[in-house]
Amino acid sequence: MQLREQILSIIEKNSRMDLKELAVILGADEIAIVNEMAAMEAEGIICGYHTLIDWEKTSVEKVSALIEVRVTPQRGQGFDSIAERIYKYPEVNSVYLISGGYDLLVTLEGKSLKEVSQFVSDKLSTLDTILSTATHFILKKYKDHGTVLAKKVEDMREKITP
């Protein structure tokens, strides 16, 4: 693997690792790491440094939903302009163009079922090019971004073995 890919594979899991340590474990020069990361930020390869939060364990009320959206593609613009209309809403977390039975998958978060439903009925469904929507509320997150949220992983090995 190139240094670039090595850096990405680590910070994808742990974006807080400090640069000195990253240099140590990759056996690379710290300056090289700094330069590589700056370059990747400039090129839009690294798009942000986020934190994975299990909101369930906090007192904050949150509802997440996945919305399947069927749209009419527009001449000359395909799905891009309708996708843009949707992703401009700050409530929306992600918008993906999907192959299969529908066109766009939209994920979003709200404070309550009502808030999410209102967004769908008032804002999303009323957009011209949207043919239909199907909203799925997330009941429980077992695993997110490669991390198991549902239970703690325990070391089940014997403590000393030859």
Binding site: Q6, I25, E158, K159, I160, T161
Partner: protein
């Protein structure tokens, strides 16, 4: 009443690790760097094949040698990775590498013949040699040679009774490797003195400097080598108990006989899972090796900063720092470290007398755990230095 047990077995010392194990077991709060197995789970697709084989009702014995398909995959693998040319008839699937060590020595040794065991090493070679009726002869490896075996050390240990050399590289506990040039020098001596090699290469995949070279691949060594490998370390499959031995028919045939009568066959479920591991597991192995290598670099760096003497290990998942500066035995150091900082490491002496003055530290732990342990080691080392 007559003594119900055999003198030969009674005379074998229990593993030096045992005592430590008992103490650590009583300390649930202790963190351990004492484990000799991967921290990864067996990759899911491999487990899935094991489960699928059970669902399919593949719950019978396999042939004594192991599933033909598995033996063929082992041959393909050894050719792909180490340019070794084995036929599936030259492969015996065993219950872990451990069984292969046992029956290999039993198949090769006559009473009184000497088995050369370079130490520090894994704990079972010496007892297995004794149980095979052979005489174990220790070769004490040296830190200044990075715990590699030199031709001179080998030459000095050979008598007219010497029959087998055990080579275990990449090495547990030192992390040492033998590169091609090192092995060529050894092979030369082996051929000149008409000896055989039992080469335990269970850590072959965990090599961090170049590619692992098997002594069996050197000219004239195929017919003199029993190669042992397995799935435990490379694929994180310790609990599946699956290994294998490859070698010339004249030895394999006798090993197969012992295996047939003592074991019958290796676990069937594990064999089906292992086929999947060899077919589609290369990426998993590469991912785990990369992670081990990151931790290895982290530890080497940390020891350097601590001023703890340590050669750079290029294999397995162990690092073997020297603690002679503190004027304690390995046992005393490990015990105090456990009591005062609640971290378990294994004293080097568990792997032979010449491990005195060293500790085996395993990095089969997440970087987060290693960081906590290193912080404590740092504190402990500073305390010891200020006591002096």
């Amino acid at each position: 009443m007559r003594n119900p047990v055999a003198d030969k077995v009674v005379a074998i010392k229990p593993s030096g690790i045992r005592k430590f194990f008992d103490i650590v077991s009583e300390m649930p709060e202790a963190i351990s760097l004492g484990v000799g197995e991967p921290d990864f789970d067996t990759p899911w697709h491999i487990r899935d094949e094991g489960i699928f084989s059970l669902e399919k009702g593949r719950t019978f014995y396999t042939s004594n040698s192991g599933l033909k398909e598995l033996r063929q995959e082992i041959c393909n693998y050894l050719k792909r990775k180490q340019q070794l040319e084995y036929d599936s008839e030259d492969v015996l699937v065993t219950v872990g590498g451990s069984e292969a060590i046992d029956i290999g020595l039993r198949a090769m040794c006559n009473p009184g013949e000497e088995v050369l065991i370079p130490q520090p090493c894994y704990v079972s070679y010496e007892p297995c040699a004794i149980l095979a009726g052979a005489v174990p002869v220790t070769i004490n490896l040296k830190a200044e040679n990075e715990f590699r075996l030199t031709a001179q050390e080998l030459e000095d240990a050979i008598t007219d009774k010497t029959k087998v050399l055990i080579l275990a590289f990449p090495n547990n506990p030192t992390g040492a490797i033998m590169e091609k040039k090192d092995l060529e020098a050894i092979a030369d001596v082996i051929i000149r003195h008409d000896l055989y090699v039992l080469s335990d290469e269970i850590y072959a995949e965990l090599t961090y400097k170049g590619e692992h070279v098997s002594i069996a691949s050197l000219p004239g060594m195929y017919e003199r080598t029993v190669l042992i490998n397995g799935f435990s370390k490379a694929y994180a499959m310790t609990g599946w108990r699956l290994g294998y031995a490859c070698g010339p028919a004249v030895i394999l045939e006798q090993m197969r006989k012992i295996h047939q009568f003592a074991i019958m066959c290796a676990p069937t479920t594990s064999q089906y899972a292992a086929v999947e591991a060899l077919k589609n597991g290369d990426e998993d192995v590469a991912m785990m090796r990369e992670q081990y290598n990151q931790r290895r670099r982290y530890l080497i760096h940390a020891f350097k900063e601590m001023g703890l003497e340590c050669f750079e290990p290029y294999g397995a998942f162990y690092i073997f720092p020297c603690i002679k500066e503190f004027g304690m035995t390995s046992d005393e150091f490990a015990m105090r470290f456990l009591e005062e900082e609640k971290v378990a490491v294994v004293p080097g002496t568990a792997f032979g007398d010449c491990g005195e003055g060293f500790l085996r530290i395993s990095y089969a732990y997440s970087l987060e755990n290693l960081k906590i342990a290193i912080e404590r080691l740092n504190r402990f080392v500073n305390k010891l230095r200020s006591e002096k």
